[in-house]
């Protein structure tokens, strides 16, 4: 057993009062000077950094169709196994393959962002939008249409590209 010696208290500490006054000075300083750190959430929305990983969206091509080429890399990378898709031939000379169905079960998603990292064509992204509460389970299965619709949460000009370029990452 190792005995640990208690540090000797000085006389000033033994009579308590000066130390108590010091403590009181600290608390009053916090009370008068410090701004509260509380986020008043529903009234004042919380501002998240631009690389925040929130709601998923499928990025659009200029025509409005999804950029995804159904390569299934995101599906493979996803540690929560929450992406499922069915690929099909779009009958479009410019596009070789497209997801007929593309679903994310966001109740299982852990918001790791691996899907967007894996994607070779920058087709999926986690936007900084985070208000997605609902009281129905169905609302958490994001279908392709919904994922495309989620583009309304990003500014008009950024719908066809990734919002977060490398520069933004570096900035943060």
């Amino acid at each position: 057993m190792i005995g640990i010696k208690k540090p000797e208290q000085t006389l000033m500490q033994k009579i308590y009062l000066p130390e108590i006054l010091r403590g009181l000075a600290i608390t009053i300083r916090h009370m008068l000077r410090q701004k509260p750190v509380t986020c008043e959430y529903p009234e004042k929305p919380h501002v998240v950094p631009p690389n925040f990983r929130g709601l998923h969206r499928l990025i659009q091509r200029p025509g409005g169709r999804e950029r995804c080429v159904a390569c299934e890399l995101c599906l493979t990378a996803c540690p929560a196994n929450c992406i499922s898709m069915v690929a099909a031939d779009p009958n479009d000379p410019n596009v070789e393959k497209y997801p007929l169905r593309y679903e994310i079960d966001v109740l299982r998603c852990i918001y790791c962002g691996f899907c967007e990292e894996a994607c070779p064509c920058d087709a999926i992204e986690l936007t900084p939008h985070y208000e997605m509460a609902s009281s129905r389970r169905e609302d958490f299965i994001f279908t392709k249409d919904r994922l495309l619709d989620n583009n309304r949460y990003v500014p008009e000009g950024e719908r066809v590209s990734k919002v977060r370029t490398n520069e933004t990452y570096l900035r943060i």
């Binding site: 009062l17 108590i20 009181l24 916090h30 701004k35 509260p36 509380t38």
Partner: protein, 357 residues
């Protein structure tokens, strides 16, 4: 015409009783809000702000919540004592106000009315005796719940209360020696005098006459009203309450009100003994009429009491809790001998003073 004159006698007393009751109970309710608000500010938070503007209706919401909670009496509890205990804690705390003077005389319809419910000569003794009663409430609650932890909690608190009651009484003996009276109104009146230092008038407040006594009384008052750093009876976070573990609903609220009312009593006493009660320094020079001065005095009394209440809250959110042995050591080896020394020193000083003058 006996009835009208009786009414004339009674009316001011009744008004004062109801007024004091109303003010103290409202203050108690709002003190809980103040506690939460100030704790929030000290911890860089905002505090309750949902009910009414700035959360000002919070005490009301709390009260409604407490009333509508299910009122459980444990099957094994001693019913009578279980129900009596919260009342025994709250009532003495409220009774203390009966003798505390909160203002000078006011003149209403040619009659002088003292702003004090009962002007008794044994004021201090009455207050101490009444304060001593509250320990029964604590212990009874612990015992009647028929829960071993409550019982231990009750024991813990009674030991603390008894130890600090002693120092509470002893620490004002010095002040009593100086004032030479136990009448609270006389004590305040004596503090309205001044010392002349050069051209500056210094009020003869008790805190200047008895600095050590004031400090010891302050410490004992904190312990007596079970406030941090001496809130061993409650110690929510490590000992899970204590005597009131088995209580719920309005009975629990009564324990709380008892604690806060006790705080107000102690603050009022501190003001009366050591800070000149209703006395506003240097106001006499302004030459105000009696009633205006009295009302200003009531304001001053409330302000001084409020400062002590703030001190209570401020200290609570600054200091950690004492360990039980430290608590007892502080009482018996720290405050008690110092209080004795204070009595002795005061006696010697008074003797020398009377010899030299």
């Amino acid at each position: 015409m006996i009835v009208p004159s009786l009414l004339l006698e009674l009316a001011p007393v009744l008004v004062k009783i109801f007024g004091a009751f109303f003010v103290v109970l409202t203050l108690t309710a709002y003190l809980t809000l103040a506690e939460r608000k100030f704790s929030a500010f000290i911890q860089d938070r905002i505090g309750p702000n949902r009910v009414g503007p700035f959360g000002l209706l919070q005490p009301l919401a709390d009260g409604i919540k407490f009333i509508f909670k299910e009122d459980i009496i444990p099957t094994q509890a001693h019913k009578l004592y279980y129900i009596l205990a919260p009342a025994l804690l709250l009532v003495p705390a409220l009774m203390g106000y009966a003798v505390i003077p909160f203002g000078d005389y006011v003149e209403v319809a040619g009659r002088l009315i003292p702003l004090q419910i009962a002007d008794v000569d044994i004021g201090i003794l009455y207050v101490l005796a009444i304060a001593g009663l509250s320990v029964y409430g604590l212990f009874m609650a612990g015992w009647a719940s028929n829960n071993k932890y409550s019982l231990l909690g009750g024991l813990r608190s009674s030991a603390q209360m008894v130890s600090y009651e002693l120092t509470l009484g002893l620490s004002i003996v010095g002040a009593l020696l100086v004032y030479g009276t136990t009448n609270l109104r006389d004590i305040v009146v004596q503090q309205t005098a001044y010392w002349q230092v050069g051209s500056i008038l210094i009020p003869k407040w008790g805190v200047f006459l008895q600095p050590l006594g004031f400090l010891l009384f302050l410490v004992s008052a904190f312990a007596e009203s079970n406030r941090l750093p001496f809130d061993l009876p409650e110690a929510e976070n490590e000992l899970v309450g204590g005597y009131h573990t088995e209580y719920g609903s309005m009975k629990f609220a009564m324990f709380f009100m008892g604690e806060y009312t006790g705080m107000i009593t102690m603050s009022a006493l501190l003001t009366t003994f050591f800070f000149g009660g209703w006395h506003v320094p240097w106001l006499e020079a302004a030459g105000l009429s009696r009633n205006v001065a009295a009302i200003l005095g009531v304001g001053a009394f409330c302000a001084k009491t409020g400062c002590f209440l703030f001190l209570y809250i401020w200290v609570r959110w600054t200091l950690p809790r004492f360990r039980y042995d430290q608590l007892m050591k502080l009482s018996w080896k720290g405050v008690f001998p110092l209080a004795l020394a204070n009595v002795f020193l005061t006696g010697v000083c008074l003797y020398l003073y009377s010899r030299l003058m």
